[in-house]
């Protein structure tokens, strides 16, 4: 439950050990490396330009990724639904070394796959081209001379199309009209369709010009030239088509045959990614002719072991210093097993800033409860806990982040089960509905509170939880102030507010308005008087202290009044917790809608049960999905806005160590 203290490490070593030391640091994942601006005047140390090698490695990694993508289309891998949660496969250092030695042959495979893919793309492009040509041949089906045929020794032939549906006699007539001097003319319609008539017209060679002129007037058009008889041409195209299809098949098969190399290619992609990362780091190091320097932050708990390992294996000088107060030290959190899962929630808000407490534990305490109240169904909670539990137990290699998230939902499920019991909700009112519909029994589920029929009572519970939540936030503020010995802040920013808000609430509980609204019995009047006094002390204190940074007393009091105005924000914060009721009701009402729908069709003989089960399954799946999402979003909101608003600013930087940022494999140290 704390922010881990960091050490500032300065490591100086021989250049010949550079590669091994960097690899050790990369695998240990314990150091965040600091990159400094290059000092132009420094004659001993300078940085080296590594952008070229780093780019080359990145390119290789990208190629391997592309090859994997191609492999996946050609031979899809049988992945289970769970693989999304599975995480990276661990391999040992010796397996890693063996694979590295194979890298050239693996890269050859990668290039081969890329080449085959190019071939496949070309073959695929052939198909539409040939098909278009085949279609262009259709009007010439049945022509027994090649399209390029222009006539014999004595005769001239015209092959072409006329853009209308027209018969042989009509053509002859029209030709006679345009060229009356031509006597011998032979018209053959080869094909006529869709306002396009393909014809073969022959005449004496001497009449060629006259006929050509006449045909032009009829909008006669010549086809693309081809030396082959259309029928033969068609055959040729069809063979080409078959060849292309074959090529596609065989190429795809050939690509698929690399399927068993998938793991190797994955490895090589990771390998090059790692090297690229290493080279990027190399570029940030200060190096002299024979030595180099690494500066970085190490969590204190790893510092000693890292120092020992480095000095045992290499000739190095390692200095571990406490960071200077003005340094921008990265933040790493450490928490117990119950709070750890919520670290992701903190991370996505902001890491603790300088001097701030790690808020994970208090956030976790409330997170599971608030989430539970919003989802509020025993069965939904049980489903959530069970499924996340099975996933966590089954998939050992799951990534840290994913494991945290799932564990968080496991605990949220427990909270949901608890509130489900309190509200008597098991798939909504399913037990009652089922008992009534199928067995004719009136079943009463025991419940502590019924939100639907006692919404005001439930609202009071929500506000009470909200008050505890807000006061806990204020309490952390108080604790931090006392720990830092800022006693004036502790009193004026926390204690006075406790007095004011607490007093107002005590006083409110003695008034008719508030008690009537929530149909509660009034608390004894003396308590109300105490509340009144508390509130007045608090208010006066805030007016006096709210603007204490101003020297001018007039200004100070004005600012104090403004600070007092903040009491309205407590009202709105508190009202915000009514979402606990609203979202809880949403879950229970929608489940009862589905249960009711099910019970309506359940009357049908035989099929009724089937319909009921169907509606039940679909309905509750949707309801669980939507409301779990709602509960997640609004729990976060209550933590970020209402809770953090009281004490937490964040602004810290997450510790991002120099690590193996691989996609598929995780390398374990041998020992």
């Amino acid at each position: 439950m704390s922010v881990l203290p960091m050490k500032h490490m300065i490591l100086c070593a021989k250049r010949q050990d550079r590669k091994s030391i960097l690899e050790l640091l990369q695998r240990s994942e314990a150091v965040e490396i600091i990159s400094r601006e290059d000092d132009e005047n420094d004659e001993v140390f300078s940085k080296i330009d590594v952008s070229q090698s780093s780019q080359l490695y990145s390119k290789n990694a990208a190629q391997a990724d592309k090859a994997l993508e191609i492999l996946n289309t050609a031979a899809p891998e049988k992945g289970s639904l769970l693989s999304a949660f599975a995480g990276r496969t661990p391999i040992t250092l010796s397996e890693y070394e063996t694979n590295v030695s194979k890298r050239d042959s693996i890269m050859k495979d990668v290039n081969e796959i890329l080449r085959l893919d190019k071939e496949l793309v070309e073959a695929k492009a052939d198909i539409p081209r040939i098909t278009t040509q085949l279609e262009a041949l259709t009007p010439w089906e049945g022509l027994e001379v090649p399209l390029s045929f222009t006539g014999t020794k004595k005769t001239a032939a015209f092959i072409g199309t006329i853009p209308e549906t027209i018969s042989e006699s009509e053509i002859a007539e029209a030709l006679a009209g345009y060229a009356p001097e031509v006597s011998a003319i032979d018209v053959n319609v080869i094909n006529g369709q869709d306002n396009l008539t393909s014809v073969l017209i022959s005449c004496m060679k001497s009449d060629k010009d006259a006929v050509e002129d006449a045909l032009r007037r009829m909008n006669f058009q010549r086809p693309p030239i081809s030396d082959m008889i259309p029928a033969k041409q068609r055959e040729a195209y069809e063979t080409e088509l078959a060849v292309a299809a074959d090529r596609i098949n065989s190429t795809t098969e050939e690509i698929a045959s690399y399927g068993d190399k998938r793991d190797d290619i994955r490895f090589i992609a990771d390998y090059f990614r790692m090297r690229a990362e290493k080279y990027d780091v190399l570029g940030t190091l200060e190096q002299s002719k024979r030595t180099f320097v690494i500066e970085g932050y190490v969590p204190e708990m790893y510092a000693a072991s890292l120092e020992k390992e480095l000095s045992d294996r290499f000739e190095v000088s390692v200095e571990m210093q406490d960071p200077a107060p003005d340094e921008d030290v990265p933040v790493l959190l450490k928490n117990g097993s119950l709070a750890k899962p919520v670290e992701g929630v903190i991370e996505s808000y902001s890491m603790p800033g300088k001097g701030e407490l790690d808020p994970t534990t208090p956030v976790a305490c409330f997170y599971y409860i608030l989430f539970g109240m919003m989802l509020s169904d025993f069965a939904y909670g049980a489903l959530m806990s069970l499924s996340t539990f099975v996933l966590i137990k089954k998939l050992k290699n799951m990534e840290q982040g994913m494991r945290k998230t799932l564990t968080m939902f496991f605990y949220c499920g427990l909270g949901t089960m608890l509130s489900g019991i309190l509200f008597g909700s098991y798939f909504g009112d399913a037990p009652t509905v089922i008992a009534k519909t199928f067995f004719g029994i009136d079943l009463e589920i025991p419940k502590v509170i019924d939100p639907l029929n006692q919404p005001m009572k439930m609202l009071v519970v929500c506000f009470a939880i909200g008050l505890v939540h807000l006061f806990a936030g204020l309490g952390i503020n108080l604790y931090t102030a006392i720990k830092d010995k800022r006693y004036v802040d502790a009193i004026s920013d926390s204690i006075l507010w406790y007095l004011l808000v607490g007093g107002l609430i005590l006083f409110g509980l003695t008034t008719d308005m508030v008690c009537g609204m929530f149909s509660m019995s009034k608390i004894p009047a003396p308590l109300g008087n105490i509340g009144k006094v508390m509130a007045i002390i608090g208010a006066i204190g805030i007016i006096l202290m709210g603007g204490r940074e101003s020297k001018n007393w007039f200004k100070r009091i004005l600012k104090g009044f403004y600070a007092l105005y903040n009491v309205t924000s407590y009202l709105s914060d508190l009202l915000s917790y009514s979402r606990l009721l609203a979202l809880g009701l949403a879950t229970s009402v929608i489940s009862s809608v589905f249960n009711k729908m099910g019970s309506m069709v359940a009357g049908t003989p035989v099929l009724g049960v089937v319909f009921f089960i169907l509606i039940f399954l679909v309905g509750h799946t949707i309801n669980l999905g939507i409301n779990a999402l709602g509960a997640y979003v609004h729990t976060n909101r209550l933590q970020y806005v209402e809770f953090f608003g009281k004490f937490y600013n964040g602004g810290g930087r997450l510790f991002t160590p120099f690590a193996t940022k691989t996609k598929y494999f995780k390398i374990k140290e041998d020992n």
């Binding site: 996505s348 919404p455 009514s578 949403a586 009402v589 939507i626 976060n636 909101r637």
Partner: protein
Amino acid sequence: MGIALALLGAASAALFAGIGSAIGVGRAGQAAAGVVTEEPSQFSRVLILQLLPGTQGIYGLLIAFIALSQLGLLGGQANTSMSVGTGFMYLFACLPMAFVGLVSAMMQSQAAVASIGLVAKRPDQFGKSMIFPAMVETYAILALLVSILALNGIPA
């Protein structure tokens, strides 16, 4: 006559809040689809953001359902002789959810669209991006609360 007014109330809660959510989820969906064309890996994140303006429709359904069951229109005995006054009570009780549902879902979708843009550029800021649309939802929740309390307070 009274029951017709009451039914108008129940229907308008589902109607307007539903329309608002449909518009909202639709708008956010367009933005989300745009992001997924460039960044398929962001699918689950933008999907969550797309769904945020969808809750108003559910709240509308909730109010409609509570009203319908109180009116006995769900398999019970409908009170056909309900007075006009009581009918108006049901109608007015449903109005907060109807109107705030409609407008807040539409406004929430604008925040959701902006947040989807934020996630597209900075996926690590997902946690914060969720909060902006959720802020708008507060008002739908308050309206829901008023509608529930009013429905519960109508004398039988």
